[in-house]
């Protein structure tokens, strides 16, 4: 199915959870901030939410240092 990822069309497996998508993208779930359809997701929502056709997902990944 198609979603919009960081503003770009992205083809993903049907019934992917966000956690599965992050694994495919090689991103660590505790280092990202997630916005799904303009809502910020908390930690547990991030782990359990399944994606739907047409969802708009924004991912910001933090790197260490400061």
């Amino acid at each position: 199915m198609k979603i919009e990822l960081n503003g770009n069309p992205q083809e993903i497996n049907d019934n992917s959870t966000i956690e599965e998508l992050l694994e495919q993208l090689d991103l660590q779930i505790d280092r990202v901030v997630l916005e799904l359809n303009h809502n910020i997701l908390n930690a547990s929502e991030s782990r359990t939410t399944a994606l739907c056709e047409g969802d708009k997902l924004e991912i910001i990944e933090f790197v260490g240092g400061g």
Partner: protein, 269 residues
């Protein structure tokens, strides 16, 4: 007659009074004359609404004048706004200590600073601590340093690790939130929690400032409403690519300037 502000007090003067004439009347020993934020020659003809500060170099001023004199170089009006502001800073390391000092120097009225860590020797390559502060809690050492710079701002410190539960309590009632952590999971935790719990309070966070790559690769980006991210977004601190004062200071400067712009009602980007 005209009315000016002289050392922060209203004063009526004859039209045609020069700066030098004012000096002779009021403070003959003054040798630094500042009008509207700039050092000004003595022959300057004073105008309605001018803000004049006169200083005798080397003389410690009266306590009640000190704050006004410290802010003499500000753009007029800036100090009035930011002295009433409160900024939260999560983390007192390379970013947090530099940001706190910048905001203290410009007179932000209140800073709330939280960090659980102690000052260590390796911190000194980028963090605003001194050799004789090694072993002290960072928030205690930083408060000391800030008060030596500007005794007139309020500094509240928490020697504690921030988490999802205490973040909203520790940083309640602030005008801007600064994320100045080191660990990426902490950065993500604070950002997620703040954006959910305090969506009306702007957040300035940072990601990617290690090493000595070109300065111009550090940027301030608007990610979404009330969320600004400073850094190059990719250069993580790791062996062979450590954190160093120049580039960390650039990121901290971006964050501090973003805070200032937000306090003054401007978009950081």
């Amino acid at each position: 007659m005209i009315t000016i502000l002289y050392n922060e007090n209203s004063l009526a003067l004859q039209l045609g009074t020069t700066l030098d004439q004012l000096r002779l009347q009021r403070q003959p020993a003054a040798d630094l004359l500042i009008v509207n934020g700039f050092p000004t020659p003595q022959g300057y003809l004073l105008q309605e609404g001018d803000q004049v500060i006169m200083i005798q170099r080397g003389l410690v001023p009266q306590k009640d004048q000190l704050e006004a004199l410290m802010m003499a170089r500000h753009t007029p009006g800036v100090h009035a706004l930011i002295s009433k502001s409160c900024v939260g800073i999560a983390g007192a390391g390379g970013l947090g200590s530099n940001i706190a000092i910048a905001l203290a120097r410009i007179g932000v009225g209140e800073l709330i600073i939280a960090d659980f860590d102690l000052v260590e020797p390796s911190n000194l390559n980028r963090q605003q601590y001194f050799y004789d502060q090694i072993g002290l809690p960072k928030v205690d050492a930083l408060k000391e340093n800030l008060q030596r710079i500007n005794p007139y701002i309020k500094i509240t410190t928490f020697n504690t690790r921030i988490d999802r539960q205490n973040l909203p309590t520790i940083f309640s009632d602030i005008d801007v939130m600064v994320e100045a952590f080191d660990a990426p999971d902490q950065k993500a935790m604070l950002t997620t929690t703040h954006l959910q719990c305090a969506p009306d309070c702007p957040l300035v966070a940072a990601s990617g400032m290690a090493g000595y790559a070109a300065s111009n690769s550090i940027k301030t980006r608007k990610i979404r409403h009330n969320f600004y991210l400073v850094g190059d977004m990719e250069t993580a601190a790791q062996p062979g690519q450590g954190l160093m004062a120049p580039r960390v200071s650039i990121a901290a400067g971006h964050q501090a300037n973003a805070v200032l712009r937000l306090l003054l009602g401007e978009e950081p980007t």
